[in-house]
């Protein structure tokens, strides 16, 4: 979600709440003989407010499970998640008087800080990366389908090369007779197609198959341009269209790789954010219950 003008109301409301909470805390801390304490009336109020913010932020996951329920717009939930989740940190710090306390509360504080920090990191990524992806990955596809698309690209590339050079398992041999592709390439001398066959089998196919040892050159757009330009000089003009097709497939493969990388950045932080949030809520409940006792 981009943090744009539509967040202004949330930003202002959050700043007002933060300002009021800070003012209250300063007065409270200055007037408390034993210093600020989570067990005092004001400390408890901060704790409850912070916990409610965390619970609301946590409910976003539940809200996503029931997208068809009329529970408000998803964007509103997301904005609430962002701003209330962010607000929960100062409120909880005010609750604890900026002390980490004992073992459980220390764990809670660390969890909260990591969750909020990862959330801020995620929000920044979500703000800056989508436009970048639109620009740099025009062939973006569904992340879960990338492997399937890659397989299709490999098959497509195999088909293109087979059409030009014959069956891939006999690259140096003459093209198989009878097939349409072999007819199309039958007029081209075998020696002419040899550089293409060699390039494909040695460099491009391993690249498409994600064999890491072979990916360095073609995964770099500039180097790839040079490789394909060199290949064109070795091949007759009739095969240049084939080279262009292979070049396009390589570019698409590079974009898919980039998409995977971006996706890991864009969603990888959730590996930390979500599990720790759940642990935080669970331990927070235990803290609240035991705080009633002590």
């Amino acid at each position: 979600m981009r943090i744009d003008r539509t967040h202004r109301a949330w930003l202002i409301a959050s700043l007002i709440v933060l300002g009021l909470a800070t003012g209250t805390y300063v007065v409270y801390a200055a007037s408390s003989p034993a210093g600020p304490s989570g067990g005092s009336a004001i400390g408890l109020t901060f704790g409850i407010a912070g916990s409610l913010c965390m619970i609301f932020a946590g409910l976003l996951a539940a809200r996503k499970k029931v997208p068809v329920w009329r529970l408000g717009r998803a964007q509103t939930w997301m904005r609430g998640h962002l701003w209330l989740g962010l607000l929960s940190l100062p409120l909880i710090l005010f609750h604890g008087g900026f002390r980490f306390g004992g073992p459980l509360t220390s764990v809670l504080m660390v969890l909260l800080i990591v969750v909020v920090a990862s959330g801020i990191f995620g929000a920044l990524l979500q703000h800056y990366m989508p436009p970048l992806m639109t620009t740099r990955i025009p062939m973006e596809t569904i992340f879960e389908q990338i492997d399937r698309v890659r397989a299709q690209l490999l098959a497509e590339a195999d088909g293109i090369v087979e059409a030009a050079c014959g069956p891939l398992n006999s690259q140096s041999a003459a093209p198989a007779a009878g097939s349409r592709s072999s007819v199309a390439t039958a007029t081209i001398a075998t020696t002419d197609t040899l550089p293409l066959c060699n390039f494909y089998s040695r460099d491009m196919r391993p690249f498409l198959q994600q064999q890491r040892a072979q990916v360095a050159a073609l995964s770099n757009p500039a180097k790839a341009d040079g490789i394909f330009e060199g290949l064109r000089t070795l091949l007759p003009v009739a095969l240049h269209a084939t080279v262009k097709n292979l070049e396009d497939i390589c570019e698409e493969e590079r974009q898919l790789r980039r998409q995977i990388r971006y996706h890991h950045w864009l969603h990888g932080w959730l590996m930390l954010h979500v599990p720790l949030s759940l642990a935080l809520l669970l331990l927070g409940c235990a803290h609240a219950i035991m705080a009633l006792r002590y």
């Binding site: 304490s37 002390r99 073992p103 992340f143 389908q145 097709n245 599990p275 759940l278 669970l282």
Partner: protein
């Protein structure tokens, strides 16, 4: 073979429309982590619960003096209303401590925990915030008659009145005639020649014990160290010992009363001195009968009969005469040099004013000379070198203290607790211990 044109339709056809029904490893890993981490957290809680150990719910590290109770929550958190009522209460504190009230007329009594914040890891619980005191003393009201204490104290630096003893018009109530300036002069006449007195020739704390330069011989006992305790724990290092004649004055200010005797009169009341003189002369004269032949001074007074050149006195007459002479010397010169004596009509002996030497100036605050021993005395008691009157109060004013005790980093402590105590420890009652070592150390 030409590549198919990449239209939206073509691209869409690449996608398996059922893809969302299959879990992707990325999502699967997130799910596993989302289950595992909370489960681990739950296990942590359950583990401690099964061990019946509530330590993880502690609000923080205990203070040094309560560290032994770290695993014994119920020592302070006394259950009052079932499982959800175990707040730390004054009742819990009272099982070990008897902390008397601050003042009988106070209108507000805070709970123990309101001032002594536990679970903060403080080395000393007595270290309290100023607001503990200023919540009342910033605008002091009492339940009884109007208080004579300053009612608007907000902090030490800039919010504390001048010390009562150092306010304008304050005088030392002592009656001993002492001129500090003369006593600190160079080449003062000492018992064995010129001396230069130093402050600690008269003003010292009780510990460490050491010989006094100008005490009488009977007070010059070599100090013996017994039950030595660390200086920081020794209350006898805090205040100056009272100045006494025997320890501080005797060697220079002798009480000789007659050339026939080496010893002086006891430093005591006129009655005791009188009895001493009578006894001394009565013991003397039987052994020295020649002294009964009194030779009159060679003087002719107008309209007075010429006395015989030599008179023979009875022992009683002689004693009376000598006692009268000695007392005259004492009352008019020796004693009067330091003491204020009044002579009532028809009274045979003078009345000596009580010395009224103030033993402790700050009745509502504590001070420790030992911790300030790195300073020269006159750094704080600057008036001592020039003071000529007993009435001069030579205590430092608050401004002197504020030079160091100004708060903030790099300065000495300036919070209320540094000088004041809340509890009136004179009222403290004995508390019987309730814990056993084995129980206290269990679970630690």
């Amino acid at each position: 073979m030409a590549r198919a044109k990449l239209t939206t339709k073509n691209l869409a056809q690449r996608i398996d429309l059922e893809y969302f029904k299959h879990s992707h490893p990325f999502r699967r890993l997130r799910f596993i982590l989302s289950v595992t981490l909370p489960a681990l957290a739950l296990l942590w809680l359950v583990g401690y619960a099964l061990a019946r150990n509530d330590r993880i719910y502690s609000g923080g590290r205990m203070s040094a003096s309560h560290a032994v109770l770290t695993a014994r929550c119920n020592a302070c958190h006394v259950e009052q209303a079932g499982i959800f009522g175990a707040k730390a209460s004054d009742q819990g504190c009272g099982s070990c401590h008897n902390a008397p009230l601050h003042h009988a007329n106070q209108i507000f009594t805070p709970t123990c925990a309101a001032c002594h914040a536990e679970h903060r890891g403080h080395p000393r619980l007595a270290v309290t915030a100023d607001v503990s005191c200023t919540q009342c003393h910033a605008n002091l009201h009492t339940s009884g008659a109007a208080t004579h204490f300053t009612s608007g104290i907000t902090r030490f630096v800039g919010g504390h009145p001048e010390f009562a003893a150092s306010r304008p018009g304050s005088v030392d109530p002592g009656t001993i005639k002492l001129n500090h300036a003369i006593h600190l002069k160079h080449n003062l006449r000492g018992p064995n020649g010129p001396v230069q007195l130093d402050c600690d020739d008269c003003h010292r704390t009780a510990k460490p014990e050491s010989r006094w330069r100008f005490g009488s011989s009977t007070t010059q006992v070599e100090p013996v160290v017994q039950n030595a305790i660390p200086p920081s724990m020794d209350p006898e290092r805090a205040y100056m010992s009272p100045v006494t004649y025997a320890k501080h004055c005797a060697l220079c200010h002798g009480l000789q009363f007659d050339a026939r005797f080496q010893e002086g009169v006891p430093h005591d009341t006129p009655e005791v001195i009188h009895a001493f003189l009578v006894q001394k002369f009565q013991q003397y004269i039987p052994n020295h009968p020649a002294d009964l032949h009194a030779t009159a001074p060679n003087r002719n007074l107008p309209q007075q009969p010429i006395p015989p050149a030599v008179r023979v006195l009875t022992e009683q007459q002689w004693v009376t005469l000598r006692v009268a002479e000695s007392e005259e010397l004492m009352w008019r010169k020796t004693c009067a040099q330091c003491h204020a004596l009044t002579f009532a009509a028809n009274a045979p002996l003078p009345i000596v004013a009580k010395s009224n030497i103030t033993q402790r100036w700050f009745q509502h605050a504590v001070f420790n000379h030992d911790t300030h021993k790195l300073l020269k005395c006159v750094e704080c008691h600057s008036g001592a070198t020039t003071s000529q009157e007993t009435a001069d109060v030579l205590l430092p004013g608050i401004a002197t203290c504020e030079k160091c005790h100004r708060g903030g980093r790099g300065a000495a402590e300036s919070r209320c607790f540094e000088c004041h105590t809340y509890h009136d420890w004179k009222q403290e009652k004995r508390v019987k211990g309730m814990f056993t070592l084995s129980a206290s150390l269990r679970n630690n």
